[in-house]
């Protein structure tokens, strides 16, 4: 892998973060009714409350950094400085908690759910897709997989509502929502782990079911293309067993574009998982975002959006850096 490749990928990553962060700054500026954040702050200050002094101080600090008397570029520099230091200010709705504290608590839940369900969806989906593209696969597999393929176009959270109704509400097999039993403290005990897993099953299931079909569809297409390659034909002529051809020659090569697909879909998958969290009241970033939206907690919204962009940016960067290890044509190109 050439250094140039790594540098270019890292530059692309930085570009993504920069564009994403700048959008968070500039998009609200386009709003017709001036600065919604200032408005919201003014409203909070007017209502007063227990911490009215601190709120006044916060409003003052905000005005010093982003007041309308400041030129936009100064505001932008102040803003970028804050972002680089991960300083997203206080949560407007859950004052005096800071945005970063709340996000810090939510991130592990989100990443855990997202990583596990994407892993299984990708793995099972690719395997199923491989089988569907393989001529020796029995017809029964095609029939069984049809519902999965159709489900691929359905948004995760709708499936979430359906599985929730069936398994939690009607059958009462699994908890209705949340990340763990209400009131339990996180610990490394078996009871807690089992509790967490039980709560994660339904949200994960709804993402995996829809995901399997999605990956199976694209894998099937890739598989058909790969099977038409000369090296697969020659592998058969060399007397290799069908098993060997399936795994080492067909699946191995068809999975490469799948990985690229995974990087390209990272944003969509993450968006979907945020909504699943909302449906299941799962204590991740999705629920935080949902609460922030309903309570006009702008600092919180911007903080979560920044983290979402960061997560997706990091995920694609990682996938892009792993890819050359899967594909020697890139690894060894023109050294």
């Amino acid at each position: 892998m050439s250094l140039q490749y790594v540098v270019r990928r890292v530059l692309l990553f930085l570009l993504i973060i920069w564009v994403g962060t700048s959008l968070i700054f500039f998009l609200p500026k386009l709003a017709p009714n001036r600065d919604p954040v200032a408005q919201r702050l003014g409203m909070l200050a007017a209502t007063g409350g227990v911490n009215s002094d601190e709120i006044d101080a916060m409003v003052e600090a905000y005005r010093a950094k982003f007041g309308l008397d400041l030129p936009v570029w100064r505001q932008y520099l102040n803003y970028m400085g804050d972002m680089l230091r991960f300083d997203f200010n206080y949560s407007l709705a859950m004052y005096p908690a800071t945005v970063i504290e709340i996000i810090g608590r939510a991130v592990p839940w989100s990443v855990g759910l997202l990583a596990v369900s994407t892993f299984f969806a990708f793995l099972l989906g690719s395997l199923l897709g491989g089988l569907l593209g393989w001529p020796r696969t029995p017809r029964i597999v095609h029939y069984i997989s049809t519902p999965f393929l159709m489900m691929s176009s359905v948004p995760y959270y709708l499936l979430g509502l359906i599985v929730m109704y069936i398994f939690a509400f009607k059958l009462k097999w699994l908890p209705l929502g949340g990340g763990s039993q209400y009131g339990t403290m996180p610990s490394l005990s078996w009871t807690f782990i089992i509790d967490v897993v039980q709560h994660a099953i339904l949200p994960a299931l709804s993402m995996v079911i829809a995901g399997i079909g999605f990956w199976a569809l694209s894998m099937r297409g890739m598989m058909v293309t790969t099977l038409g390659e000369d090296y697969v034909m020659l592998a058969e002529a060399r007397g290799l067993s069908p098993r060997r051809i399936f795994f080492r020659y067909a699946m191995r090569n068809a999975i490469l574009p799948q990985t690229t697909g995974l990087a390209l879909s990272a944003g969509t998958i993450l968006s979907g998982s945020l909504l699943v969290e909302v449906i299941f009241r799962y204590p991740g970033m999705g629920s935080v975002l949902y609460r922030a939206i309903t309570s006009f907690d702008f600092f919180m919204i911007y903080g979560v959006v920044f983290f979402v962009v960061l997560t997706v940016g990091l995920a694609t960067l990682m996938l892009d850096l792993i890819y050359p290890f899967l594909d020697p044509r890139i690894r060894y190109s023109r050294q």
Partner: protein, 343 residues
């Protein structure tokens, strides 16, 4: 002397794939300082021969104005190609026609074959009525021996490879060009159908006075069709001259190697086992300096690796870019054409 129809003067074409994000760029010198002159009167009939990667196809695309040179100039009737605008450019487009290698890919799969024949008339002679167009097309198909009812109204995949290529010949002839650049016109056509295509090219030259540039890797058909030949290796011209002399008595070590490797269709003349004059091109890249054939050449000398050899005029109708012949006078690029015009 009249103004040449087409002239390439010291053209170099470098392809650099500019790396997009995550991809590294690379540089290929496809054509290196090549000069070439084609006359309309009397019409030249020249073969440009070489193996894949020799730059022959790129040179043809430079002459067709489909790519522009990195350095050097291509002239059409004395005017630099880049200066051609509007009507002049349309005149050039019509006057310089081409036949390509793959007789399937030259057809837009969306249309019937008629499209390929109608489109140029519509563009070059917009005043022609539908009936007049039809008459032109039918006449052109007749010239190449195709029956209208077996050709028109069909999709490209419904015709055979030979038929498709003959339609392309008809298309080129229909426009009354001064020159046809034929890039490997028969290499993807079955042996039994090659003859008709080559014959119609030769007829176009003999009877319609159309100049022909025949680009090929196949020395036997080059020998059959053309009077002169330009041998290319790695973007440069290595041997230029009368086709009989070049092929029957090759002088450049590379031409010798190539001629010796032709699989002649004669079981009594098999490859002589001991004539292996050059090593294989096992991937080593030619250096920027010196003769690009030097790494494979059995007669390589020190100077070959240092200075690129110019063309040496060995006799009246032949020049060779090899220091084995350095006693002969050097030919300047402008004079190269004298070697193969009217020969």
């Amino acid at each position: 002397m009249t103004t040449p129809l087409l002239e390439a003067r010291n053209v170099t074409k470098i392809f650099s794939s500019r790396g997009s994000i995550g991809k590294k760029g690379s540089v290929t010198v496809a054509v290196n300082q090549a000069s070439l002159t084609i006359h309309a009167d009397p019409p030249s009939i020249v073969a440009i021969a070489g193996e894949s990667g020799s730059g022959k196809t790129t040179l043809s695309r430079l002459l067709l104005g489909l790519v522009s040179p990195t350095s050097g100039d291509v002239f059409y009737r004395g005017r630099p190609m880049t200066a051609l605008k509007g009507d002049e450019r349309m005149a050039f487009r019509r006057d310089v026609q081409a036949i390509f290698q793959d007789p399937f890919e030259v057809y837009n799969p969306f249309y019937r074959v008629d499209h390929a024949l109608e489109m140029p008339i519509k563009r070059f002679e917009p005043t022609k009525s539908a009936d007049e167009r039809r008459a032109m097309i039918e006449k052109a198909l007749g010239v190449v021996g195709l029956r209208v009812d077996e050709t028109l109204g069909r999709y490209p995949h419904q015709l055979s490879g030979g038929q498709r290529q003959r339609v392309m010949v008809a298309r080129a002839l229909m426009l009354n060009p001064s020159i046809i650049v034929a890039d490997e016109p028969v290499s993807m056509v079955d042996a039994s159908l090659r003859a008709t295509i080559l014959e119609s090219l030769l007829n176009a030259h003999d009877q319609l006075a159309i100049a022909i540039i025949y680009i090929t890797h196949d020395l036997t058909t080059a020998y059959q069709v053309c009077t002169s030949i330009l041998m290319m290796y790695s973007g440069a011209m290595v041997e230029v001259g009368n086709v009989d002399r070049v092929i029957k008595d090759p002088l450049h070590p590379y031409t010798q190697l190539l001629v010796g490797s032709i699989p002649l269709p004669d079981p009594t003349k098999r490859w002589a086992a001991n004539v292996r004059s050059a090593t294989s091109a096992s991937g080593q890249h030619s250096t920027s300096q010196g003769c690009s054939f030097a790494p494979r050449c059995p007669h390589v000398m020190d100077i070959c690796r240092e200075v690129t050899p110019p063309l040496f005029r060995v006799n009246a109708d032949r020049a060779v870019a090899c220091y084995l012949y350095r006693d002969a006078p050097v030919v300047s690029p402008e004079d190269v054409s004298a070697l193969y015009i009217g020969a």
